[in-house]
Amino acid sequence: MTAQSSLNTQTGDTPLLQLKGVSKSFPGVKALDNVDLDVNAGEVHALLGENGAGKSTLMKVLAGIYHPDEGEIRIEGTPVRMQKPMDAKHMGVLLIHQELSLVPDLSVAENVFLGSLPKRSGLFVNNRELHERCGAILKRLNCRFKSNIPVKHLSVANQQMVEIARALVFTPKVVIFDEPTASLTDYEKVVLFEVIRELKSQGTGIVYISHRMDEIFELSDRITVLRDGQYRGTFATRDTDEEEVTKRMIGRDLESLAEVESPEPGERIIEVHQLGIEGEFRDISFDVHAGEVVGMYGLVGAGRTQVVETLFGIRKPERGTIRIRDELVHLSSPADAIEHGLALVPENRKEQGLVLGMNCRDNTSLPNLAEYTRMGWIDTAKETEVFERYQEQLQIKTPGWYQATLNLSGGNQQKVVIGKWLSTQPSVLILDEPTRGIDVGSKAEIHQLIRDLAKSGLAVIVVSSEMPEILTVSDRILALYNGTLTRVFKRAEITEDDLIRAITGQSADAASEPVASGA
């Protein structure tokens, strides 16, 4: 590999990497339709497209995980055929996954050097060299954890950094980042960008996939847009703007969110008083009224998920009370919570949101099967009808209700989860990171949807790590830091500075690495 990479000082006219006319179909879906892409040495090439546009598929073709049905891949002008992931690696193409692909029980160093551990006398692992080299890489990435701890003890953000560290083990010709920042905090994002710029300066070609426009415009040299699996053009970043690429991407102008009106404070639906679980969070008190959106903002690890999971009966509170419509409730299970009109769109759609092997329709009816049951039998016609209603409302892209959710793109999966919970007709809707990994178009739709739902009388709680999102949708914002509620903002009184201070424990520089919670 290293021998090959010395060749990469070819002339600028042959792109480092070239895809021509690549197509790839899955049963019922043409994920890629005659797509072109080229990446030059020393360039950051951004790939943009809605959920399900085919970005990940394209990258998987490039990394040898999928075989294209048609089309050609050239590396430095030579056509190549990638049979398996290793071939791609040998040819200098490295994919940093959208989904983490780490071995939880192995150490950081072992994960970074997975598949290429340094050897001693042919048979043994050279631990010393392993940790020395890994330590150096971690230092370059400004990571503060040690190389010998199991990755399962790291926060998700740090796990993402481990994934990224792999890019620095070799000097690959092309590195593909598939939504690397989805679970990074701002701090790590800055470090990541430095690394990308460094790779770039060494002549590495970078493919960068993200739904965050600001990042794309900050980082990239060129932008290629995909839409419904089709190539929609490549633009020099400095010659275009957000509006234009968005239009290319979603085929229309993005409507800006209707101005949020201050809500008529409706009935108080849910009231939480001094809620706490030792070691997780404490003294959480707030309420949500009908017609209101309450945002919960904080750094990853602040404990927001734990709070909403407690509201939903998943965790048992040790202290404090929950009242729904002024009635004291003890929620001992999600079923209880559903009974009381709550709904939770969970943080992790694949693990908590969907039975991936099940089709869209059956997933949708899961939380209130009783509704569809007549004398013990499930009324499938009604199920289909309900799913199709939400498919229409949420614009879920799928060939039909019978499609296994496994085969949907991340964004569409998320929509199925939202539809599933809306179908229970809740009075309190909780959404934990509702737009993680969702394209700008859909994101705007979801924001609009949240506002509309509130307007129609729902009490909505939104957990998010993205400030623009929280600012867009919330009427009030709860700032959490380290398991405590530090401040409650009314929409009118928010300033970004105050918000940041509140979520970092008063001072912005205290944004320290949250301590590992797992195991």
Binding site: D87, P334, L354, V355, G357, D362, P367, G376, I378
Partner: protein, 335 residues
């Protein structure tokens, strides 16, 4: 590194056809295997296709098959039940022993109750305490065998007056020429297939097996569901025991030894995934029938009884392989 050209259209078509063939085989392979198996045997031995023989086989597999129905639910729910063999011994000994002590009706009721209690222990350990089902039911396999032996102090049990008990109905009689065991087996199969496909209970079993966490987040009581699947497998095992007890009119303490693996073999053959979340009663029935016919056919052909083991080996792997290959769209893995 091989340089390559864009794939030509014809090769794409070929791949497509191969995929379609594979998918067809994956979907209907088990039925084809079944028919093939029937064909081979009926061509090679003239006895095979006689009504008498077919009914005999149906009766012989009914015990194994009835257990397999319940176990299919357990497996779709994402767990295993290796204790059914011991449980079959337990229940058979119990029903036979109680028959003479308290009369057939009471014996049947008590047997079902006690068997369900053991099923409830399995269900509690796996469902509520969330212990690994393989190990739990392995431990239970041993413990139940011990309990059975303690109960009988190791003696065989027999029904004294075999000629004049209506208990003979379950294992020895026939309705319109069809043996009652077969009727029980097929009847239960139909009911349970409907339960699995058409009711909320069945849907929830698929959900907990497919993704237990997501099911729980959707308000399904995962613990309770797992618990119920073990109750169900205990129930079908009790039914099998009643057939067995009636058929033999007696029981040894180890009658059920080894049944757990044959049951599992049948369930797997039917294409139920051991990972949970998919499977079907209908296919389990076919899986069990294939096992029964292999055994019967080879015996008729005069092969030693252990020849069926070799055939079973090949058949299980081929069946599951086809199933997977169809989903993958390719015969072989490539890592």
């Amino acid at each position: 590194m091989k340089a390559s050209l864009p794939m030509s259209n014809s090769s794409t078509v070929a791949t497509d056809n191969r995929k379609r063939v594979l998918q067809f085989l994956g979907k209907h392979g088990i039925l084809l295997a079944f028919l093939l198996c029937m064909m081979i045997f009926s061509l090679t031995t003239d006895r095979f296709l006689s009504t008498g023989n077919l009914l005999t086989v149906l009766m012989q597999v009914s015990i194994l098959g009835t257990i397999a129905l319940g176990v299919t639910f357990v497996v779709i729910g994402g767990n295993l039940d290796l204790s059914v063999g011991s449980l079959l011994s337990f229940a058979t000994v119990l029903v036979v022993d109680l028959h003479d002590k308290v009369g057939p009706t009471q014996a049947i009721v008590l047997t079902i109750v006690f068997t369900l209690i053991i099923g409830a222990i399995n269900g509690t350990l796996v469902g509520y305490l969330k212990l690994n089902s393989l190990i739990v039911t392995l431990g239970m396999l041993s413990a139940i065998q011990g309990i059975t032996l303690i109960y009988t102090s190791g003696q065989n049990v027999d029904i004294q007056d075999q000629e004049n008990t209506w208990f003979a109905f379950f294992g020895r009689e026939a309705i319109f020429g069809i043996p009652v065991p077969a009727i029980i087996f097929i009847g239960l199969a139909i009911i349970l297939q409907v339960v699995l496909l058409k009711t909320a209970f069945g849907r929830k079993v698929f959900a907990i097996g497919g993704n237990g966490v997501a099911a729980a987040f959707s308000g399904i009581y995962r613990n309770r569901m797992v618990f119920s699947t073990y109750l169900l497998s205990a129930f079908t095992t009790a039914c099998a025991a009643i057939i067995l007890g009636s058929r033999v009119m007696g029981s040894q303490n180890n009658v059920g030894q080894g049944y757990e693996l044959q049951v599992l073999a049948g369930v797997i053959l039917g294409g139920t995934s051991l990972l949970g979340g998919s499977g079907s009663i209908m296919r389990t029935v076919i899986g069990i029938l294939i096992l029964g016919f292999i055994q019967n056919g080879l015996l008729l052909l005069g092969y030693p009884y252990y020849a069926q083991w070799l055939v079973t080996w090949v058949v299980i792997i081929l069946a599951v392989w086809l199933d997977i290959a169809a989903k993958r769209g390719r015969l072989l893995n490539d890592f």
